[in-house]
């Protein structure tokens, strides 16, 4: 057998074989990810040092944000971020679940792909353009058509009191809701699709209607995954910057009314970072960024754990 052209292959294995080198090189790039995650936290932590040392925990509970006298308390922003995001969830979740159910269970086959494609398109629109639309279309709409009835019929609630000029917590919540519907509905949809067919078949065999099947067999099974999708949406809402900055009014006060303007953690950074003159001012803004990162990471971890568990175990889809 003519084997001469194979003769240069080594018989013995050397320590620095091609396999070792290759694995080391690409392993290095994987390590980069960890390094860079570490750097991300470290930079923000270190650069916020001045503010943390000056204010301590009062930074998170203080309600005064006064660059002139250099007193910085971030509670109004934490309030603004959390409330606007919760409001967004309140609005978006029913719609998202409805969309997810319709697109995975009830819609005619032919419509499913085009409709889900269109919903995804909403996620592709840059946030600054949604904000632009928010300033000129959504805010006036809410001011002129949504706020008056809310004020008339529900005005006894402190939530809907006071004057409404368009740029407000309510508008912020609505715009965030619009932005998180795509991800919340698409992850919910993937979760619903992992419900095994035999569950549905069991219900159908009992003579259940489409909706009843969904209610009895699908939703309970998918519950924790949908919850995970909701948390993912919450995480996205918290981190959202441009659109909400453009419509929330940017006024750092804590008010009971949804009609008042508000200010989120991301927005104050976006608006004031470049203007920040003193070291303490910059450091305080960076501290806000640090906490924003921390909250975001915690929420994301919780969401991934919930969604991963369901998707991996059932072997379906991708998070």
């Amino acid at each position: 057998m003519d084997r001469e052209y194979l003769s240069f292959f080594r018989i013995s294995r050397s320590k620095f074989s091609g396999d070792f080198i290759f694995e080391a090189i690409i392993g290095f790039f994987a390590l980069c990810i960890l390094v860079f995650a570490f750097l991300l936290f470290r930079e923000l932590f270190v650069e916020s040092g001045l503010s943390r040392n000056t204010f301590g925990w009062d930074f998170l509970t203080g309600t005064t944000w006064d660059p002139v006298s250099e007193v910085f308390g971030s509670l109004p922003f934490i309030f603004g971020t959390l409330v606007s995001s919760f409001l967004a969830l309140l609005i978006a979740v029913p719609f998202s679940i409805g969309i997810a159910i319709y697109l995975s269970e009830l819609a005619p086959e032919k419509l499913r792909t085009p409709l889900s494609f269109i919903i995804e398109l909403l996620a592709a629109i840059p946030s600054v353009i949604i904000g632009l639309w928010g300033i000129f279309i959504l805010a006036p709409f809410i001011r002129d058509y949504l706020a008056p009835p809310l004020s008339t019929y529900l005005g006894f609630l402190p939530l809907f009191q006071g004057p409404m000029y368009g740029l407000s917590m309510l508008t912020g919540g609505v715009i965030l809701a619009i932005m998180i519907i795509p991800i919340t509905s698409s992850v919910s949809r993937e979760v619903i699709m992992t419900v095994p067919t035999h569950q549905r078949e069991a219900a159908l065999a009992l003579g259940a209607t489409g909706w009843e099947t969904t209610r009895i067999a699908v939703l309970p099974y998918a519950r924790s995954g949908i919850f995970g999708a909701v948390i993912l949406g919450f995480g996205r809402a918290i981190g959202e910057t441009m659109a909400v900055t453009m419509v929330i009014g940017n006024s750092p006060r804590i008010s009971e009314s949804l009609f008042s303007p508000s200010y989120t953690m991301a927005s104050v950074i976006a608006n004031e970072f470049v203007e920040a003159t003193s070291k303490l001012y910059v450091s305080s803004l960076i501290e806000i960024g640090f906490w924003l990162l921390v909250i975001s990471v915690i929420i994301n971890i919780a969401a991934r754990i919930l969604v991963w568990k369901l998707l991996r175990v059932e072997g379906g889809g991708r998070a």
């Binding site: 018989i11 013995s12 294995r13």
Partner: protein
Amino acid sequence: MIMQNKIIVENLIASFGAKQVLHNINMGIQKNRITAIIGPSGCGKSTFIRCLNRMHEVVPQAKVSGKVLVDDKNIYDSDIDPVYIRRRIGMVFQKANPFPTMSIRDNVVAGLKLNGIKDNDVLDKTAEESLKKAALWDEVKNDLNKSGMSLSGGQQQRLCIARALAVEPDVILFDEPCSALDPISTSKIEDLMIELKEKYTLVIVTHNMQQAARVSDHTAFFLYGKLIEFGETDQIFKKPKEKSTEDYIVGRFG
């Protein structure tokens, strides 16, 4: 005719993590013969054959001990590169697995190309020879640039055989090569194996006893990870020495 063992297996033990799957296998595989490995599902025959070309250890947590001597050299010696072993001992799998992004010709010479042989004339010549040896040349000689996936199941399997032949192994291992094929393709591949034994040593795992009886010179019967009986195929099938062998052949279990 000199009967010599191409492969000698000594005290082979294999496990996946804590679970032991092969218990002390001792066996000799003769050169230029076809040796069949039979036994019920889970008896360790696939694991055994993968120990012969050091594919078993690719799975995480897999362990092997004992010796496998090929031409009197233990392939598990610490100074041996398993990659090299796999060039000398080739393998054809249960389900044909041609490389999906390559043409027929590139599939055949993949083993050579990826090991540095760039001369297209050499590659083309080798492709033709290997396809001829695998009895596929006539069917594909005008379509060498078509995708490997454009062939039928039986043709794909012969393509995989050609690919294994192109790197010029001494031994070819077949892991249930016909289980996914129709009877006609199966019989083509069986004829091919009988032709190949002239130049190569073949080991075939099969759950099809008729195939083992038709094709092989020696047969080994495995049960629960142990080698129960090994001998000439005629003797195993007509006059098995062990009761469990007889039970299996007659169809009492498995």
